[in-house]
Amino acid sequence: MDETFLINGIKTQNKIVFDFIFHYYYSGLCAFAEKITGNTDTAEDIVQDLFVTLWIKNEQIAISSSLKNYLFTSVKNRSLDFLKHEKTKAKRLNVLDESAELPENLSSLWFAESELTKVIEACLKKLPPRCREIFVMSRFEGLKNQEIADKLGISKRTVELQISNALKSLRCNLTPYLPLVLLSLLLK
């Protein structure tokens, strides 16, 4: 992706570029804001408002590092402002230095839903069918281990084992793609 092209697109209010960036980063930015604010609706508001500002103040936007860093740093700052405003002290969060931008070397893979989906799906395909089925039910459909066991007529213990096996396989297959810093690990 050519960053200059995207940044110029924003500065000249190119609707296609704007919409593209929006689709590409929206869910990742929301996930990030949700991590900080702990609220889905707030997260969406924060990210949407950021994009409104991006469009309206197009000419004043100064993107010094990468677009991705700019977006995530903005969302982080806006989320922290929100917390301050709400006087909800971020006690459960030990956030990084507030003014610091995110590390420069973040891989975009982990912030764009489309890319993350691609990598994870490729890894899931390598799992044995039963193992994959159980893992998806657990991690993506939100079923409890006992519910999965009942549904498939197997023991809860088997379900647990399969999930462990899936994680082991994913660890091996995903690791080459893993960035140095993972989004969610920035916030402990």
Binding site: F22, Y26, S27, V52, I56, E113, L183, S184
Partner: protein, 343 residues
């Protein structure tokens, strides 16, 4: 404890589902070697990335983008409101104690025009002038105003073709008469704006303060009073229907041009285009039927036509195209041709 046993526990460790005893086991295992530490970190990253994807999947960027476009629309309106407020402050001081008319008509009257001057404001320009009796006139784009060398008769007659704003020097004995053809205006001493563009079949007269008489015919010989206008009233005369409508209006948008301000207040796109054409001496065409019904509000002071078009574009479902000016046979250039297209 065996490595495989610990690895089995990891998902539950990450989820916080393990009994305290097992938690301690995992941490002990993790701390016991670099390899274990590495396995732990990588497992955690894998697990977190799965969770992250799951969180992301909740968000619908398509729906959200629609909301963002709506919010942008609203913000743009807010920006225009700010401009309007500034403009209102600029205009207010001169609305007070002034009187204006807008008047538009076709042919001029039978008044004897020997020894008359004609002053002209070219297309796309505005100018001002002081008449022999001290009356100040502002001429809008493409306007002619004719008047005698001296106001020697019983009345002070002027002939208007286009749009003008008058600050009439008071003289109750010698009424100031604006001849526009179908409808003429009589004033004794006040300020007003009048206009009559021959290509338009609409005459508008807007009175800000004071009072004026509208009449038909020649002032001295065949005067037929029609009505008297009150401040804040606008008389619209549709020439091809021969009908006169009177309504109360906010006068500022009709007079702001005098101070170089272009003001739209719930004006139809058709009207906006008509006025932009005159203001900039441009040739704007509207493509798309629904556009004609679109209503626009905004105030412009020093903006170029391109800037105005850009503002229109973000607040209305339109796009525009500017065609290059053509050199005509007489070596002059054609008007700026602009096409406004419905999106």
């Amino acid at each position: 404890m065996k490595k495989s046993k610990i690895e089995e526990m990891l998902p539950f460790y990450f989820e916080g589902d393990l009994p305290k005893k097992d938690n301690t086991e995992v941490e002990k295992w993790k701390a016991s070697s670099d390899t274990n530490q590495k396995i732990f970190e990588e497992s955690k990253k894998a697990w977190e990335s799965i969770s992250l994807l799951r969180v992301m999947k909740k968000y619908d960027s398509g729906k959200a983008l629609q909301k963002v476009h709506k919010k942008i629309g609203k913000q743009n309106k807010n920006i225009l409101t700010v401009i309007q407020r500034i403009a209102a402050i600029l205009i207010l001081p001169f609305i007070i104690s002034t009187l204006y008319f807008a008047l538009q008509n076709q042919n001029t009257s039978t008044t004897d025009t020997n020894n008359w001057y004609t002053i002209t404001s070219p297309a796309g320009m505005r100018s001002d002038y002081t008449l022999p009796d001290g009356t100040k006139v502002y001429l809008n784009s493409q306007t002619n105003l004719s008047f005698p060398i001296a106001f020697s008769g019983k009345t002070r007659d002027v002939i208007l073709n286009g749009e003008a704003y008058f600050e009439v020097a008071e003289n109750k004995k010698k009424p100031f008469v604006v001849n526009t053809g179908k409808i003429n205006i009589e004033v004794t001493g006040t300020e007003f704006k009048a206009s009559n563009y021959s290509e338009e079949s609409l005459i508008e007269i807007v009175l800000v303060s004071g009072s004026i008489h509208l009449f038909q015919g020649d002032y001295s010989h065949s005067k037929e009073n029609i009505t008297r206008l009150q401040p804040g009233e606008k008389a619209s005369y549709i020439t091809n229907e021969d009908r006169l409508y009177i309504e109360n209006v906010k006068v500022d948008k009709y007079i702001s041009w005098k101070d170089g301000i272009l003001m739209f207040r719930n004006d139809s796109m058709k009207d906006v285009v008509r006025r932009l054409n005159r203001w900039f001496n441009a040739d704007i065409k509207l493509t798309g039927n629904d556009l004609k019904d679109y209503v626009y509000t905004g105030t412009f002071e020093n903006e170029s036509i391109n800037q105005i078009l850009e503002l229109l574009k973000i607040s209305a479902p339109i796009d525009y195209r500017i065609n290059k000016r053509q050199k005509k046979d007489d070596q002059t250039f054609s008007k700026m041709e602009i096409e406004i297209i419905q999106k």
